[in-house]
Each structure stands twice: as C-alpha cells, then as structure tokens.
C-alpha cells in the first residue's frame, strides 16, 4: 500500500510539474513578441510594466476598445497622460478578477494616480462574469501571478487556474498569438438590429440582476484599496447606441446608495453618444467614437 501511494504521489507531482513547466516555456516564447498595451486583444499582463501610470482603466470590452486598434496612443495623446488598460472583453472577466488584476499591479509597485472603472451595467448587475473560467487564457504563465491568485478568494478559482495553465498549449489561441495590427476600427453600424439586441441582453443578463449585492461589496473593496494606496477612483457608465441598458436605473441607484456622488465620483454617459457613426455595433465605439468620446466627454472630467 505504501509503495502504491508513494508512486501515485510521485507520478502526480511529476505530471503537475511537467504540465506547468511546458506551459511556462510556451509562455516565454509568446511573451517575447513585442506586445504592448495597445496591440492586445484581451491579455493584460503581456506588456512592459512601467513604474508609473497616470490612469488605469478597468472594465470589460467597452473599456478594452479604448486601447485596441491603435486607440491607446490616441487616448494618451488626448488626455496627455500615460494609461494602463487592464480591462478585459469577450466575457472573460468579472469585477472580482478586475480587482485582482488591480491588486497585482499595485503589488508589483506600479504607481497609479487614478483608476477609471468603466462600469458597464452587466459588470455590476450580473454575476456570471465572475464565474468565467477562461479569464487568464490570454495571459502568459507567470509564477508570481499564478501563486498570488492561488491564495486569492474568487469563484471558480481552481478551474480558472487550471485553464490558465492548459490554455498555453493551444496552438491557435496561444502559441500563434501575435500582436494585433494597429489598424483603426472604422466600421460603422448600419442600424440597430432589435433581434440581435434581444439576444445580446439574454447573453449579458443570463440570470437577470443576480450580482448586485456581491458586486456592491466588490466595489467597496475597490474603493478601500484605492483609499489605502492614495489613488483616486472614478466610475463611468459607458455609452450605448440604444441608450440605457436594462437595469440602468438599478445601477445608478446602487451607486448613489453606496455614496458615490453623481458627476463627482461617477459619470453616466449611457445616453451621451447617440450617433451611429461612432459605433461599430450597438454598444461598442469605433475608433472615431473613442476619439470623440475622449475629446468631448472624458478629457476634462477625468484629468
């Protein structure tokens, strides 16, 4: 029996070791491909880490578009500030792991002056994003990141960590990963497709507004981390071509209840841009839209 147990433990450890080692080696080769914060689709850790940033953006795809397609350099120019964008699209990351990323940035002694949380209604009102298990699939395997997360408390943590390691073996999604071409997103939406929109709402709110209470706690935590580190926190509700998202009022009321002051701590831009020429789909700004939004709405408010 002892020999059996000993062998099981030894073989298991060897497998785990090789599995992680392979993943680490595969991460290494991809990391060296000149990634920066503007040519990433959904990776956050794949860029040279500076010592200091004026602004840090958090959120989901509505914030990620600020950096994609060469927009990153443009917003830095408009704001005249250095920007780090840790937001993540593709339904890969909820508020819980956005906070983890933010913590990780701070623990790496990267100085941040201000955090801008782009609070899309789905990010606050629902919980499903906090359960996504592919959150780190686009990140290189870094041991400090891995072990820090191991001791972090998050839903589905072990599945997420397992996928984090496993995903590095994916030839299409990881091994062949290259920096995105910095080509502006010039596509303009034709018109709002109501059927598509209904499907979208189902996708974004799979269990209605099941995340309000837990995400309130997360927001409090984020606010505390910012206070402890002398970082200003500002929240913006992003714009959408169709105006307000379902649950928009619930989001605003919750922010008010939590003591965030309108037009001071948070800004509601949901109905601020209603011209379709600024969108490539119903709720994502194209490059012209990003430029317009930053120039006309954000520049003075978040500086």
């Amino acid at each position: 029996m002892k020999i059996f147990l000993k062998k099981i433990i030894i073989y298991s450890l060897i497998v785990i070791l090789f599995f992680h080692l392979g993943s680490y080696i595969l991460s290494f080769s991809v990391k060296s491909r000149n990634f920066d914060n503007s040519n990433l689709k959904n990776s956050v850790n794949l860029f040279e880490k500076k010592k200091e940033y004026d602004l840090l953006f958090m959120g989901i795809s509505h914030a990620r578009v600020y950096s994609r397609g060469g927009n990153h350099a443009e917003i830095e120019r408009i704001l005249d500030a250095s920007v780090l964008n840790i937001s993540k699209g593709n339904a890969m990351c909820g508020l819980e792991d956005q906070i983890y990323y933010f913590n990780y940035v701070i623990e790496n002694n990267i100085k941040i002056k201000k955090v801008v949380l782009v609070l899309s209604p789905t990010l606050f009102l629902t919980n499903h994003l906090n359960y996504a298990t592919n959150t780190f699939n686009d990140e290189p395997l870094e041991l400090s990141f891995y072990f820090n997360y191991y001791f972090y408390d998050a839903p589905n943590k072990h599945k997420r960590l397992f996928n984090y390691v496993k995903s590095k073996y994916n030839p299409k999604e990881w091994i062949k990963k290259q920096p995105l071409v910095k080509k502006k997103k010039t596509k303009i939406i034709d018109s709002i497709n109501q059927d598509k929109l209904n499907d979208l709402f189902k996708l974004y709110y799979p269990n209605k507004f099941d995340g309000v209470e837990s995400n309130k706690q997360r927001l409090f935590r984020l606010r505390n981390i910012c206070r402890e580190n002398d970082i200003k926190l500002q929240i913006i509700i992003p714009s959408a071509l169709f105006g307000a998202w379902p649950g928009h009022d619930l989001l605003v009321n919750s922010l008010n209840e939590m003591g965030f002051a309108k037009s001071v701590d948070y800004y509601d831009f949901s109905r601020s841009i209603m011209d379709k020429k600024y969108y490539y789909d119903e709720h994502h700004l194209n490059s012209e839209g990003v430029e317009y939004f930053f120039t006309n709405f954000l520049e003075t408010r978040i500086k």
Binding site: M1, I3, F4, K7, I8, V15, F18, F19, H158, K159, F162, N163, K166, Y169
Partner: protein, 476 residues
C-alpha cells in the same frame, strides 16, 4: 456525482484511504462504509431517489429470503412476480409512462377517439435501468435455485448500490459480485495499479474521445441539412466513437475504481469495433446487458432450441427489447430492430457463432478479408447509430436522405480528433486480446508503457474536455 468531476476527485481518495486504513479491519463495518459512501455518491445527484434504491433493495432482499424458505411453486412464482412487478413497475413509471401515454393518445386520435390523459413531468432517476436489472437478476437466480440468498442486509444493499457501477453498470450478477462482499480484502498492489491504468484509459476515452467527438456530432446532428454527404457520414462515424468512448470509458473507470477497492467487475466491452460480423459485435458490446438479456429473456423464450422461426422471433424480441431498454423513444426500437435485421442472415445461415476468437490472433495485421469484414460491420453499426442518436424517427430518415442529396454544403475536417481516435484504435488493436488497452505484456520494455501513459495523461490535460458533461448512458 460524476467520475469526471472535481467532487469525485476529492471524494475517491478520501473513500479509498478510509476504506483501507479504517474500515477494512471489520467486514461488517467495511460493507456499511461502502453502502454509506455509495448512497452519498448517488445522493449527490438527487438524494430523493435514494429511497427508490433502498426500497427496491429491501423488496428483493426480503423476497430472496422468502424464496429460500418455501418450496411451494405457486408461492415462489408469486414472490418472483412481486419482485418483477415492483422493479419493472418503477422502471415503467419513471422511464416509459409518458411514452405509452403519448403513443396511446396518438393511436386513439387516429381512429377518432380523444383521450383526456396528459403526460407527466417525471425526472428519470439516474441508473434506474441498471440497478433494477441487477436486483431482478438476484431474485430470478434465487427462484431458479442457482443462487443462495444472502442473510446479511448490509451486504445486499451494498451490492445493489456499489458506487463504481451503480449508475451505468456493468450490470453485475449477484453470483459474481455478492460473494466479493463476503470476503475479507487485502490490498493487492497489482490489482490496484491495474485499476489505476484502467481508470486512466477510461478518462482518456471519455474526456478526449467522447467529449471532443460530441462537439462535432452535436453540430452535425442538430442541422444535417447544412452539411455535405461526406460530413454527414463523418457525423455518424464520430458518433460511433463518441458513444463507444463515453460508455466503455465509464465502464473502464467503474471497473478500475472497483479494483482499487479489491473488487473485480465483469468486462463490459471487448474492442467491439474490431468485430467481423454483427453477432461478434454483440458479444463484445455492452456485454453485461447482452448476457443479461440472453440469460433472463432469450433462453426463457426458448433461445435457439426451437425451430428456425422461433429463433428468428426470439432474436427480434431480444434486440427490440434491448433497444427499448435504452430509452422510451421509437428511435431506440428501430435501432434494435435494425440490429436484429443485420443479425438475421447470420442466424439463418448458422454463421452467428463463426467468430468467437479475437481477430487476427497471433498476427500483427489483419488479413484483407478481415479488414473488409471489420469495415462492413462498422458501417452497419454506424448506420444503426444514426437512429440511436437522432431526436426522432423523422430526424433519422432526414439525416439519411441528406447523405444522398447532392446539394453543395459545408464540410468539416476534424483532423485533431481523428488523430486521437487513431491513437486509441492503434492501442486497442495492439492489446485487443487484453481486457483493456493499457495492459502491456511483461515482454514489452517498461519505457514503452511509461511513454504511452505520459502521452495519455498529457492528452487528457491538454485536449480533454473538463467542462462537466454527463455520460450518455446515465439517461438509460
């Protein structure tokens, strides 16, 4: 609890260690422990249905004791019928009630009579078809005086609910399994390592083969009109491997797990896709069910002792009932009927027992004739699987007619999945005379087996599906 879940990954080592280090010292405690963990294993899915297993076990345990006490034939028959009524009653209610109601309604409506009966929202208890067959075989064997009933209730309850094989078999006979609950166990290193290898092979078949095939199969079977003929054929072939990987994978995990606890379960699959005719296929596919039907249905009906027509009748009955056992749907009945049809020429020409040995015994490669025979048999099974997989009879016939339509459509080329299937086929071919593919002979260098294990473990980790997917046979 699923074998491929995190819960089971925690559950099984705990049970294993407690079993050998704490409870194995005393036979009664050990069996009680096995009973409790089996009920926990089952109750994890839905604890309400534990009462059903307990009740079924209680009935058959007591009927077994009563059968032993009496020699009056009338009384014995009454006891046997009571057991059959209870077990088949449960099975009928939970599995077939809606099927019969719906079909009666359709039949009556076709002659102008409206029926005011509606179908029920019934949850099918997982594994009901397996454990009811297991308990029935116990009572029938006692009735036939082939088995002595056990007087130890815990032993019997543990036998019925033994967690490795509770929800999807193999359907064990009391004669094989029950005595194993009566004996003291010593940890057997060779048996345990063999069990670990079999679990590994089962996980590979389930998580790599079956679950990856399922992605394509679902896509193709959900919209066959979108795909070209070759892709539709591919869909049927992939389903053949999906169902094989899924079910034989489950059986391997179950048998392997039982070995870790010192129990030997019967072999349920013996490389069925290397069969040279459909009769051989049915001797190698879901062996525990085929032999169950042979012993408790085919032989009582007269088996092959009567005339030719009786043989034909019995063959059709056994195949159709076997199809119906899989589910309350006409597609399963047609699937059974088709297999009977394929079997018929062999039966009529007395060739149904031509291939009792392993194919290409003592040779590395099969002969050309064997290749043709294997391919033809595989083709027939794939054709029948279309009915097994389809949602209903019309979907199956639509699928088949789409194969013959010449309209341009999408083609799928699942190269990666074919590589892993090929790997599985090669390994199974090499060890086709063994009970599973990872039983290497001692003459082979150790490094060979180590490399194979390493490849399998890595393929599972990298290519296996870790999202929880139920085993197909849970539904049966």
């Amino acid at each position: 609890m699923l074998f491929n879940s995190i819960e089971y990954l925690v559950f099984s080592p705990i049970v294993f260690l407690l079993y050998w280090f704490v409870f194995n010292k005393h036979l009664k405690f050990r069996n009680l422990f096995l009973l409790i963990v089996s009920y926990v294993f089952y109750g994890w899915w839905d604890w309400r249905f534990l009462a059903l297993i307990a009740f079924s076990s209680l009935i058959d345990y007591n009927i077994g004791l009563l059968l032993e006490k009496t020699d009056i034939q009338k009384k014995r028959k009454l006891l046997l019928y009571t057991s059959l009524l209870v077990n088949l009653g449960f099975l009928g209610y939970f599995k077939y009630y809606n099927f019969f109601i719906d079909n009666f309604k359709i039949a009556f409506e076709s002659i102008g009579i409206q029926m005011e009966v509606s179908s029920l929202q019934i949850i099918l208890p997982v594994g009901i078809s397996f454990y009811t067959f297991q308990t029935m075989s116990y009572t029938i064997d006692i009735y036939r005086k082939k088995l002595e009933p056990t007087k130890d209730a815990i032993q019997f309850f543990a036998y019925v609910s033994f967690f490795p094989q509770l929800v999807a078999g193999p359907i064990e006979r009391a004669k094989n399994l029950l005595p194993q609950f009566k004996e003291k166990k010593q940890f057997n290193y060779d048996l345990a390592t063999d069990g670990m290898r079999q679990i590994l092979w089962g996980l590979f078949k389930k998580m790599v083969i079956a679950d990856n095939c399922a992605v394509y199969v679902n896509q193709i079977f959900d919209a066959p009109q979108d795909y070209n003929a070759l892709t539709l054929i591919l869909g049927a072939v992939l389903f053949a491997f999906q169902i094989y990987g899924d079910f034989s994978g489950y059986s391997d995990i179950a048998i392997g797990t039982a070995k870790l606890f010192g129990f030997n379960l019967m072999q349920n699959f013996a490389t069925p896709y290397f069969s040279r005719d459909i009769a051989e296929f049915w001797r190698r596919w879901h062996i525990s069910l085929s032999t169950w039907f042979r012993d408790y249905l085919y032989i009582p009906l007269g088996g092959s002792k009567g005339g030719k027509w009786m043989k034909v009748r019995n063959t059709f009955i056994i195949f159709i009932v076997s199809g119906f056992w899989h589910g309350a749907n006409w597609t399963f009945i047609v699937w059974g009927f088709l297999n009977a049809l394929f079997f018929l020429p062999l039966l009529l020409t007395n060739k149904n027992r031509n291939h009792l040995d392993v194919v290409a015994a003592n040779r590395i490669f099969p002969s050309l004739k064997e290749v043709v025979q294997i391919s033809f048999t595989f083709m027939l099974t794939c054709f029948a699987w279309i009915f097994f997989r389809a949602k209903n009879f019309t979907s199956a016939t639509d699928y088949i007619s789409e194969i013959f339509s010449l309209e341009a459509a999408i083609a799928i080329k699942p190269i990666k999945i074919f590589c892993v299937i090929l790997f599985m086929v090669v390994l199974e071919w090499r060890n086709r005379d063994k009970t599973f593919a990872l039983q290497f002979s001692s003459s082979q260098p150790k490094v060979y087996s180590r490399v194979i294990y390493f490849i399998i473990v890595f393929t599972i980790l990298v290519y296996g599906k870790f999202e929880l997917t139920e085993f197909i046979y849970f539904d049966f």
